[in-house]
Amino acid sequence: MPNKPSTTDDLGSFTAPALLVLASLADGPKHGYAIMQEAERLSRQPLGPGTLYAALARLERRGLIEALPSDDRRRPYRLTKLGASTLEAQLGQMRTFASRTLGRLEGEAV
């Protein structure tokens, strides 16, 4: 039975960084520094270490990501099934929002 997508609404001021972290992990597990680099590449905005770990802690607590065993001090994280479905649902909402807004703009332009 597939996991019901969670919501990121209760992530407070860390909603946007949390989405970036989920997006960064979409193509496979990454440790903190790699997540930070990928998030910065995706958003073209710097992601501070304090913000990153606040988002990681929230996502891990909600079961959206999980830490993997590591011999290194750097601990990799990966999306859980719930995290993947939540990311998919969030991106779907964004796509709907974007297409509707673009439709309005195009309608106005005509």
Partner: protein
Amino acid sequence: MSPHRLVGLYPAAWRKRYQEEFIALLEERPVQLRDVPDIVWGSIDARLSASLRSGPAGTFERFTGLAAISAGVVLLGTVLLIAFVPTDVYLEGWGHASAGGTLFYPLAFFGSLGIHWRQARVRPNLAWPAWMALVLGGFLGSSSVGLSMWGGGIPASDFGPLQAIGLWVGSAAIGAAVLAIGAFPRLIGLTFIIGSALAMIGTIAGESFSGSDFLAALSRGGVAIYALGWIATGISLQFAGRNNDGWAGAPA
């Protein structure tokens, strides 16, 4: 600023879970000036979210918390009464202290049950010895609480060695257990240790320098700090405690 100093801003439970990888990140990507406020904000968020997740306490903790608050209020009220209500009658001052100490002990005993309840959930292996030390120390110390509040000039014959060490040993045991188990804020443990130490120093020295206002104020101030420790314990018991599992576990 060094990574170790910055990570020290975070609460202990958070550090237990994330410290190593966070420091590894800060070593891999050297800290920039703009990171400092970001990390400070992250540490505040970690503390706030830990408090918010604690939620309301159970009935037993709230009840024993009220007892602890009452114990602190009785003790604080008594010491203020003795300090600021003028009395020329030797026995009257002693009577206030004695009544306050008598009322304080049963209230503090019930409060101690709440402390034990909280500590047993966090570190069961340490909680029983801590509670035994707490009750024994409380029993030994309570008989000298009244003497400390009265402050200075106590005849040596009224102040046995058991009472003298009881107050500090008992209270230090409470404080040490609070610090060791970590189920309560560290400040509470420190108020028990420091408050009782000041009270003991002021009281014992008061024997040698009878009538010293400074020593009387020192011992009363010590008891006041100790009383505030009980009030803070009671307030803390009104909220479910932080525990070491507050942050999600990590694989080895």
